[in-house]
Symmetry: C3
Subunit: 140 residues, 3 copies
């Protein structure tokens, strides 16, 4: 039984950019000495989020953005804006809602995801950001 950790960085393009991080995580899992267990994928910060989705343009370029804009509109008078004079209240709420980590089982050094299920990072901040993703694998 052991724990192995790795980080990698991604550059997001803009507000609501949805980035496929499956390959980086899969590669790390494949190259680790842990065959079975779980992997936690996490972003440190309060304006990013991690989840899974079928990574196809309709969902990741339109539907997710339209859905998030509908339930947490970007341009609203959030009290958070008064605190810092910035404009990313929606981003904080989206990260709070979607959360900054996910935990997925692994079997034979393979992520137990569906064929049409990819790991994604969702940029909730207002603009392009450098993001560090933490991978923590636990198992034997």
């Amino acid at each position: 039984m052991t724990v192995q950790t790795k980080t990698f960085s991604i550059r997001t393009k803009s507000y609501c950019d949805v980035i496929n991080i499956t390959e980086q995580v899969s590669k790390t899992v494949k190259e680790s000495s842990i065959e079975n267990g779980i992997v936690n994928i996490h972003v440190a910060g309060s304006t990013g989020a991690i989840s899974t989705v079928e990574y196809e343009p309709g969902l990741v370029k339109h539907d997710i953005e339209e859905f998030l804009e509908r339930i947490i509109p970007y341009d609203q008078n959030y009290k958070h804006h008064n605190t810092w004079g910035d404009h990313n209240g929606a981003g904080h709420l989206r990260s709070f809602l979607l959360k900054t980590s996910i935990t997925v089982p692994i079997n034979n050094r393979r992520l137990l995801l569906g064929t049409w299920q990819q790991l994604i990072f969702i940029e909730c901040d207002e603009k392009s950001r450098q993001r560090k993703i933490y991978i923590t694998i636990i198992g034997e």
Copy 2:
């Protein structure tokens, strides 16, 4: 310290079917050799979801469905429908929002859930599906 895994299958009935999977998970936890740690419950796929709720008819037959339909309506013109010609865009967004796994602590081979808290699978796809649930127990 060790890791133990098990899978079981469920048959969902229809869109938004909410299935109580507490007993299968509890039984697996009880029969494992791990006394304390965590258990990850996961469905592989992009149109299912896992969470907890008080499993009583009001919530699981009405309120959850009404809530999900209100924030992610089934019958909307999702771009995802253009990609594949199917009609499960809402299901993908629901799974993206609710996520496909949950991790719960265990103590003395018992799930640390509240008395009125049950583990559930939520069918987000359009119709009846066979679903495979992965249980991964880690601890000692």
Copy 3:
């Protein structure tokens, strides 16, 4: 490789009280013998929730409450109310949506959170409650 568990209690004040639990969790992680791994933070029950947010008054006293009230209004005719004659249907749905646990990586006995990212408990029940939080640390 080992597992260490600890619990602590908090007293919530009212509906939608958002409590910063970062210090209690950080202290437990710091005092454990586990240097690297993950920590699961969990509340047992079906009307509480755990997530992260920047803990500043605008978000935790206004924006979160306004957002949750908008997507899951307190005063609605939930079927759950007919089951028990109580009035916390919204609380159950909020807990179902936000979930009762989160898992965060730890490195050198330190939570890998962002500078502006705090662990929070969200009271989704109607009134002040005593809440027990479970911390489970796994690693080596």
